[in-house]
Symmetry: C2
Subunit: 127 residues, 2 copies
Amino acid sequence: MEKSQALAALSALANDARLDLMRLLMPLGDQGLAAGEISRALGLSSSRLSFHLAALEQAGLIRSRKLARNVFYSVDAAGMGATISFLLNDCCMEHPEVMACCRHDSSVTAPAITPAAITPATAPQES
Amino acid sequence: MEKSQALAALSALANDARLDLMRLLMPLGDQGLAAGEISRALGLSSSRLSFHLAALEQAGLIRSRKLARNVFYSVDAAGMGATISFLLNDCCMEHPEVMACCRHDSSVTAPAITPAAITPATAPQES
DNA sequence: TCCACGTTTCAACTGCTCATGAATCATTGA
DNA sequence: TCAATGATTCATGAGCAGTTGAAACGTGGA
C-alpha cells in the first residue's frame, strides 16, 4: 500500500462520525446498509452522511452498490486490512511490542452501535 | 482504549510529516533521538517539528525525556499497539478478512528513512 | 407524465490544522 | 555573568475539513 493511500485512509478514520459508520457497517458484511438507514441509525443529516460516505469510499474503506432507488454501502475489508497492515509493517516495521496487539484479543468491548439498533423501516413495529 | 483516545492517535498519524517521524523513531527503540537530530533528518524547522512532536506525544504515540540540553523522543510502542488493537477489535470487531493483515507479513518495503542516514553527531552523553 | 422518495451536490459559513519566523526559555561552557 | 546552543511558544496567515439547508438529480410507482 502506498503511503499516500494509507494517509488518506487514516485521515478518513480520524473522525468520530466516520468511525461510528465503520463500526455500524462492519458486522453487516457485504450486504451493507442503505444510505437512508445509515442516516437514521447514526442520526446524521443526509448531506452530512453523503459527505462522510464519500470520504470513506474515496479512501478505499467502503464500497457502494446501487439497488433500485437505494445505494447500499458495505465495508471494504481488504482496504481496512491493508491500512492496518501498513501501520504494522511499513510504519512500525514489525516492532515486536506493537505486533503483540494482534495476538491477545484484549479489550473487546460491546460495539457502540449494535445492528439491532437499526430500525428496519419495513419491519413491523413492535409495541 | 477509549474511542476519543483512538481518534486522537489516528488524527496524529494522519499526517505525512508525523508518519515519517514515527518511521524514523521506530527502529531506534527506547533510546530515541534528540529533537535537533530529528529536525535535521526530516528537514523540518524546529518550530514545525516541535508542533508535530507535541501532537504525537499528546496522542500517546511517543515519549520524551530531557537529557542535558537535549530532549530525546522515542516511540511509545504500547500506545501504538493500543491504537492498532482498537482498529482491529473495537472498530473491525475482529472481522476475519481484516484480521488476516496480521498474519501474512506482506509488502515489507525498505524504510523511507534509514537509521543510518542519521548523523550521530552527539551521542546521548549521560553525565 | 407526474409525483414521491432516496440520495447527492452546492454555496456559505465556522473552526481547525498546518506552516512560518520571531521571540522566549533553559542549559552549558567560557 | 555572558554568549552559544537546543528547544519551545507565540502571533499571524493560508488553506482545508466539517456542518447546514436548499436545490438538483435519478428512479420507480401511480
